[in-house]
């Protein structure tokens, strides 16, 4: 088991659930589906900077090194 597998499979599961719910004929379900899909999209965008575990021995500036810019647009 690797982090990469966990993240990739989580994205897949979220997308699958999101698509299924978005295809329902009820507003609330569609909203739920879109929420799941947006979780997946955020994870995907985040992961596109590749994964890196928090390491305390490095200087603090390294903390955010892996944060890709688009992630903060989660509101749109």
């Amino acid at each position: 088991m690797t982090f990469e597998f966990l993240i990739a499979s989580a994205i897949g599961v979220l997308v699958a659930g999101g698509i299924y719910l978005a295809l329902r004929a009820r507003t609330f379900q569609v909203v739920l589906g879109l929420t799941l899909i947006s979780y997946a999209v955020n994870l995907f965008l985040f992961a596109s900077g590749r994964l890196m575990l928090e390491s305390h021995d490095k200087p603090r500036t390294r903390r955010s090194a892996n944060t890709p810019i688009p992630c903060r647009r989660r509101w749109c």
């Binding site: 979220l14 659930g17 698509i19 979780y39």
Partner: protein, 958 residues
């Protein structure tokens, strides 16, 4: 540079005049016409001052860069061709303004009229002195739009509206084709500069793009110049006021197509295809227009079809690709402008003074209005090509050229057909003058009213007719130098020697001309019989065909839209998901390569696996329990929590903080929305549909997961992260790179985003605020809570806890905000935390209690936030740096250690305020509407009137 300013002023004057007229819209008619006349006269003076340089062979030109990346420059150039057209546009424009001043009836909107007229004049002027083909296109489109306004000036008349629409559809449609043609032309010639293109004719004609260029540009020219079969818009454009017709159809609008043909003559002309298409189109149009004109009864309709015919002749002459024919065309352009404008104005006078334009009701007007009769008869004689008038000379030149071109291999064909066209022209010209002014009056009433107008009204047509006469009497003195220079500009060679005279000796042209005059006289003599025969023949009506085509297009497009764009979101989503999935599958199958890359992977620890299992289980629960709405919110918050944890573990503390605060706000939002939704919705989808959706969802999930896996197991490409890391501290003054990116590197982005967020908040407010009225309000009032409310609406424990939490949460928010520049936090996150703190109060203590104690208005927060952020950016500009450059420095105070002040902090304050305002506004509104609905329900039995009052009050109070 002096000439550059002259050129710019020349083209800007009409537009400024249009603006000026529009600004003093309410003023008297004389103000409007005086501005228009002054602008036209000033333009004339300018163009006159350019006469020597323009005609001497070194055309004045000037270039300003506009969009250099597209090759679009603001190039203005006055060569002889452009000069002649500019002279016609401004000269006839001035006369039309004078004529229109007296022509327009009392109470008409003269401000709109003259403003549109000047707009049109400016656009036309732009076409003829544009030195860049893209610029020319801009003005070309502008003439279509301005002519739409002019033709539809009498908005209350259905035929004016229909005529304007038809003109716009045809000329605008042709304009689209022209855009394509011009862009291809620029590509083939390697430049969009007109002077350069004109020297590269050989390259363009040899280019494989030439047929497309030719076809598209000709389509643009033919539609604009009303060539068969696009002629039909022109007669319907006669619904315009007569001064407009006089302007558009003598010297300007319809001449634009002819102008462009002449302009691009050195590039396009000379090939077999060009000669065949252009000559044939012109010839057919000439004969067709003349034939129809013979049998029309409306004066303006006769003139409209005669214009079509005359334009056909011009196009035909340009199609010959011969210098001498181009010369004849140039001369005829001047002649036609003079006599046609005079004739249109005369028709306007006749209508103005008799009340009708129907030639069958008029007659013998020479007795009642002798001045008008003299003017119009001379102009019509010039149109017929009778000596000693200008029209005779150009018609002679035309007939003289016809045998030089063997159409379809038959040298006699063209002279014969051209003579038929000329005969018909003589016929309709003679009929126009003869039936209108001579013989007995056909009806008593219009004749009794008829009288000559004031000199102010006949001065303009008289001047033009005088010009038409002089062009015949002294052609060498008046026209020859100009025609020679212009012909040189058309052909792109040295100006030819011009010999213009009435008498050339007996030659073929004279014989053909005599034949035409004799034939025309016979046509007039036998007109009654011919007319009866014409009216017996059922002829196709172009207008009806146009409308039928439009209707057919309309219905088929509608059908296509309904078929392709179903109103069901479900089906649309299904289609887009399916197509996307298939595309990804296709890419995966054909792309080659392996799924798993070679990057070293991070081994997962046990807690991570537990979290993963939880996430999968929560997702499944959301899907399976979606109908149990309250419970599903808990599942979804589990997912959000785990994702926040993932961000935290995987080195993105900022993201984790944002995620968790957004999570709280989202769940609150959903709770509020749920209040209004049924708690257990009915089942809608059938099992097969569900199975199909599930299969698609599974495929989509596998594919996206696969893509993520493939990406994660490969090394990333070059990243800009290093730049941000290196510059965050020295450039932005902060050690939290994410925050520095938000408030400094990409502050412009953030500014745009908070504005969007603010607008979204206001949009939600507007939508929900209006939901209380109308149908939505009625539905809301009919709403009944499904679940029984707890007898204790605001549980004491919750209220007390939330009030203790409030200051603590606020403190956390302030802490996050202050440290944001250097450590995880910042304005966005702080705003969400603070918003959550307030929203909890709404939940616990109720909307009214919290709202009454709230010290701020959300609208103000949004507004101030955007203003503060903008002011920070502008402050940098005031200090001489680019917009949104941040400033920072370090200070030390006694007792408190060294600290940093940065302008980014101020910007972040703007972000904080806007986000707080938008989130509060959206959520409070949603809470409020539930409250309002609940209140309405409670009040419904008691008093409906008070209920409405309370609603209105609630709305105002916000």
């Amino acid at each position: 540079m002096a000439s550059a300013m002259t050129l710019l002023t020349l083209v800007a004057l009409p537009f400024l005049a249009a603006l000026g007229i529009a600004l003093c819209h309410g003023a008297a008619r004389i103000v409007h016409s005086a501005i228009a006349a002054a602008a036209s006269a000033a333009g004339l003076a300018l163009i006159a001052s350019l006469a020597v340089p323009a005609l001497s062979g070194t055309p004045p030109s000037a270039t300003w860069q506009w969009v250099p990346a597209l090759g679009l420059d603001l190039t203005l150039m006055v060569d002889p061709l452009g000069w002649m057209f500019a002279l016609l546009i401004l000269g006839i424009g001035l006369l039309v303004v004078i004529f229109a001043h007296t022509y327009l009836y009392k109470g008409e909107d003269t401000g709109r009229f003259f403003a549109s007229l000047m707009l049109f004049q400016g656009a036309m002027l732009g076409i003829v002195i544009a030195g860049n083909v893209l610029l020319l296109l801009v003005f070309w489109e502008l003439t279509s739009l301005a002519s739409f306004l002019l033709i539809g000036f009498w908005q209350h008349k259905a035929e004016a509206r229909a005529g304007a629409r038809m003109a716009l559809a045809i000329t605008g449609g042709g304009g689209l084709a022209l855009i394509g043609g011009m862009v291809l032309l620029g590509v083939a010639a390697g430049s969009f500069d007109l002077a350069t293109i004109l020297t590269r004719g050989d390259i363009v004609r040899a280019s494989p793009l030439y047929p497309a260029i030719l076809g598209l540009i000709l389509l643009g020219c033919f539609t604009k110049s009303a060539q068969f079969p696009f002629h039909f818009w022109l007669p319907h454009a006669m619904a315009a006021p007569t001064p407009v017709s006089a302007y558009l159809h003598s010297a300007t609008m319809v001449k634009a197509g002819v102008f462009l043909l002449a302009r691009l003559w050195p590039v396009l002309a000379g090939t077999e295809a060009y000669t065949l298409i252009v000559t044939t189109t012109g010839l057919v149009t000439m004969i067709f227009g003349a034939g129809v004109a013979l049998f029309r009864h409306d004066l303006k309709s006769i003139l409209a079809y005669s214009t079509i015919s005359q334009l056909g002749m011009l196009v035909m002459l340009l199609g010959f690709s011969l210098e001498a024919a181009a010369l004849a065309a140039v001369l005829h352009i001047i002649n036609h402008a003079a006599f046609k404008a005079a004739l249109f104005m005369s028709a306007g006078i006749v209508e103005h003074e008799t009340g009708t334009r129907d030639i069958r009701r008029l007659g013998g007007l020479a007795k009642a209005m002798p001045v008008t009769a003299l003017i119009a008869t001379l102009a019509a004689a010039s149109m017929a090509g009778l000596p000693p008038l200008g029209g005779f000379i150009s018609k002679e030149l035309m007939l003289y050229q016809t045998p030089k071109l063997a159409l379809l291999g038959q040298p006699w064909l063209l002279p014969a057909l051209a003579t038929i066209g000329a005969t018909l022209s003589v016929g309709y010209s003679l009929r126009l003058a003869g039936h209108l002014f001579f013989g007995p009056p056909r009806e008593a009433e219009p004749f009794a009213r008829a009288h000559d107008p004031t000199p102010a009204m006949w001065a303009a047509p008289a001047l033009l007719t005088g010009l038409a006469v002089l062009l015949g009497l002294v052609p060498m003195g008046l026209a020859a130098p100009l025609v020679g220079a212009v012909t040189g500009a058309v052909t792109g060679t040295a100006p030819p020697q011009v010999e213009l005279a009435l008498w050339h000796g007996v030659n073929l042209a004279l014989i053909l001309s005599l034949l035409a005059v004799a034939g025309g006289a016979v046509l007039l003599w036998r007109h009654a019989g011919l007319l009866a025969a014409w009216e017996r023949a059922a002829l196709p009506d172009a207008k009806r065909m146009f409308e039928r085509t439009l209707g057919l297009l309309d219905t088929s497009v509608r059908r296509l839209m309904v078929a392709s764009h179903t109103p069901s979101l479900q089906n649309m989503l299904l289609a887009s998901f399916t197509v996307t999935t298939l595309l990804v599958i296709e890419g995966a199958l054909t792309g080659g390569g392996v799924l798993t890359g070679t990057r070293a992977l991070l081994p997962a620890n046990f807690p991570a696996i537990i979290a993963w299992v939880l996430l999968i289980a929560a997702t499944l629960a959301v899907v399976l329990e979606a109908r149990n709405r309250l419970r599903v919110l808990i599942y979804i918050s589990v997912i959000g929590l785990i994702i926040s944890l993932a961000f935290a573990v995987l080195s993105a503390p900022d993201l984790a903080l944002t995620q968790i605060s957004v999570e709280v706000v989202t769940v609150l939002l959903m709770l509020l929305a749920l209040n209004l939704l049924p708690k257990r919705p009915p089942l809608l989808s059938s099992p097969p549909r569900k199975a199909c959706d599930a299969a698609l969802a599974l495929a989509g999930g596998v594919l996206v997961g696969g893509i993520a896996w493939a990406m994660l197991t490969r090394d990333p490409g070059p990243s800009i992260a290093a730049f941000h890391l290196a510059n965050a501290k020295p450039g932005g003054g902060g050690t939290n790179v994410v925050n520095v990116i938000l408030v400094d590197f990409r502050a412009y982005d953030t500014l745009g985003e908070i504005i969007v967020l603010g607008i979204a908040g206001l949009g939600i407010f507007a939508l929900l605020d209006t939901a209380a009225v109308g149908a939505a309000g009625a539905r809301l009032r009919a709403w009944r809570a499904e679940m029984a409310y707890s007898p204790e609406r605001h549980p004491m424990m919750l209220v007390t806890a939330s009030r203790i939490i409030l200051p603590l949460t606020l403190m956390v928010g302030i802490f996050l905000f202050l440290r944001g520049h250097n450590q995880p936090g910042g304005g966005f996150i702080a705003a969400l935390v603070v918003a959550a703190a307030f929203l909890v109060q709404y939940l616990a203590a109720g909307f009214d209690w919290s709202d009454a104690r709230k010290p701020f208005g959300e609208h103000n927060l949004i507004g101030w936030g955007v203003l503060v952020a903008m002011a920070t950016g502008l402050g940098a500009m005031a200090l001489g740096s680019p917009f949104l450059t941040s400033w920072f420095d370090y200070f030390s105070l006694p007792l408190i250690v060294k600290f940093e002040l940065a302008s980014a902090m101020l910007f972040d304050t703007g972000v904080f305020l806007t986000v707080l305002g938008a989130v509060m506004l959206a959520l409070a509104q949603l809470a409020h509407i539930g409250q309002r609905a609940a209140r309405a329900t409670a009040d419904v039995g008691a008093d409906a009137g008070a209920d409405a009052g309370a609603d209105a009050e609630g709305g105002d109070g916000r």
